[in-house]
Amino acid sequence: MMLNRRQFQLGLAGALGAAALPGAAGAQSRDNELNILCWEGYNTDSVLGPFRSAHPGATVRAESGTSDPDMINKIRAGEINIWDLINLNQPWARDQMYPEGLIKPLDKERFMPLFDKFLPEFRGPYPLAFADDGALLGLPQRYGPFCFVVNTDKISREMAEDQGWNLFLDPALAGRYGVLTYDNWNLIHFCMAAGIDPFSPLSADQKQRFTEVATRIFQNSKVRSGDLVAMNIALINGEIDAYFTGGTYTASPARYDGQTQVRGITPRSGPIDGKGGVVWIELTSTVNNPNLSPLAAEFLEFVHQPEIAKAVAFAEGTYNPVANMGDPETMALFDEEELDAIQWDTLPEEMARSVEFDSMPDYDELIQIYTAIRR
């Protein structure tokens, strides 16, 4: 084929036009677009469907991540222009995302009144939702104590709570438990089992003790998996009697399925000012997107309406209590079976025995030790 100058110019113009398109789209107003990066649940139809109906012309997209750092990676890797909301566990907003300019503060006038309808633990208002400079960084909603899970047909709740983390050092349980390999949580829990406060700087002796305990718990475990369903199945079919790292979040799907012998346990005592449990609390923040969608703040308000808060609590995958259960109107939407799935009967005392999931001063060194032991 022979090309003439005109054809070439036409082709070049077409190529340049095509190349310019994404830039042009990026500069457009984002009034009708909302992108949410979240843990599973906020991306379900029961939550997004009603919001889409309320905003018929809007394109609402939500993507669930598999871990907090996985989601932060997306923002760090340049997707700050794409996402409007990010939903992560509590320490990340204060310790990393806000100082690094990855999220922007919320309008206090608009969002502070929401705290009045939260459970007493969050009504204070919840301190980790704020930066040191007083900026409101995110809104709490789902939460849950996170320690370990037992099959109460094999190990009674009382015994598990009394023994606490020592359960996994008991030779009688060797080869009869699993480790749910949520790496960052494992580090916290290995510290707890070693009688160390993970959220304070560790001495050389404590690091040695951490290494010994982590090695022992790994070596004596029968199953190691990052899949909570696999772990629950192993627990139900008797392959194991307990699993290290877990809680309401991981036990609730099995419990809601009628397997109420699967139970998250919060030890009665432990190394952090006498407390033996740790609780995660999700915060949803607005991303520091230079072209933030106005729908972000609207969605944030929307998910705290009673019906939607209930849908968030019982979205697919896992079931979790929500801060909104302090509002009688929201609370009335939960039936007995659902409350049992999220261990509502013992939740206040489990929360009282727990400290906040926080950043660990020696995280970098401990994760190196952890990955080396795992190998």
């Binding site: 932060i72 990676n73 199953v223 998996s225 696999a230 008797g238 190998r375």
Partner: protein, 284 residues
């Protein structure tokens, strides 16, 4: 005019070449540069210190690399043995049934790998399809079949079977019937025909199938995590941890570079031994 036309052709090819360079080379380059950065940084604005490579050596990451390579070698060898008779049948014996078999194997690829592996998890676990049935029928069960190295190998063989089967069938189809018949006529035994005629002439298919399965198995992660219960930690698992929970992008990049270098070297050595054009049908 011809020369101008060629130059215009080159110019027209520029956008596509740029896209290819951007899509294939740029990400690799980014990973390569990141691997030289100091620990736990998230941009390139630092002097390279290559510390991640030192960390890899000091902290025993070579163990994960060896496990991945060992599992990949074993899975590839097992697949060769398993797929050879099947591929032979497809190329020479089954006739129309080959199409049915092809469709069946290809259909399995339509389902996500994780879902298929979870199906096997439910089958092999204690109280699962196998152990549960045996216990119900005979009153005695056993401790399940999961969470060990054989379970990981089973997963690799299962997932990557199509990647060995089809190139192998293609390779076997390339062996001319005349060559086989001539060998028999000259008094060759069945074994001699296999080792001296079929294997060498089907070598491109064997090599392509082996390389595909080896490369994919070396980077596999789900089999070890789900079926193996992390009985061993494979290199892809370490790379994932470095990028996520450790928030150490340079270390993750360095581990990726090591894997790319090791696998790349093996692939290049392998490819030098076969004529890929032959299996593509360009030169016969």
């Amino acid at each position: 005019m011809e020369r101008i036309d060629r130059r215009l052709g080159l110019l027209f090819a520029l956008p596509v070449s740029a896209i290819l360079a951007g899509a294939f080379l740029a990400p690799l380059l980014v990973v390569a540069i990141f691997s030289t950065m100091p620990q736990k940084v998230f941009d390139f604005l630092h002097w390279p210190d290559f510390s991640s490579y030192r960390v890899i050596l000091e902290q025993g990451y070579w163990r994960s690399i060896l496990w991945s390579l060992g599992l990949a070698f074993t899975a590839t060898a097992l697949l060769l043995v398993i797929c050879w008779p099947l591929a032979y049948g497809m190329a020479r014996v089954f006739g129309r049934f080959t199409l049915v078999l092809t469709v069946l194997v290809v259909m399995s690829l339509f389902v996500s790998e994780n879902i298929r592996l979870f199906g096997w998890f439910l089958t092999l676990m204690k109280g699962g399809l196998i152990e549960g049935h045996l216990r119900a029928w005979f009153g005695q069960g056993f401790e399940g079949l999961l969470f060990n190295v054989p379970a990981i190998l089973f997963g690799l063989v299962y997932v990557y079977l199509p990647f060995m089967l089809f190139p192998l069938a293609q390779g076997i189809a390339m062996v001319p019937d005349d060559a086989r018949a001539a060998a028999f006529d000259l008094g060759a035994s069945r074994w001699q025909v296999f080792t001296q005629i079929e294997l060498p002439l089907a070598a491109p298919g064997i090599m392509v199938g082996s390389l595909l399965t080896f490369v994919l198995s070396a980077g596999a992660i789900a089999e070890a995590k789900l079926l193996g219960g992390r009985a061993v930690i494979v290199i892809a698992d370490d790379i994932e941890t470095a990028f996520t929970f450790a928030q150490n992008w340079p270390l993750g990049s360095a581990l990726s570079m090591v894997l790319i270098a090791v696998v790349g070297t093996l692939v290049i050595l392998g490819l030098r031994r076969v004529d890929l054009d032959a299996i593509m049908g360009r030169r016969r």
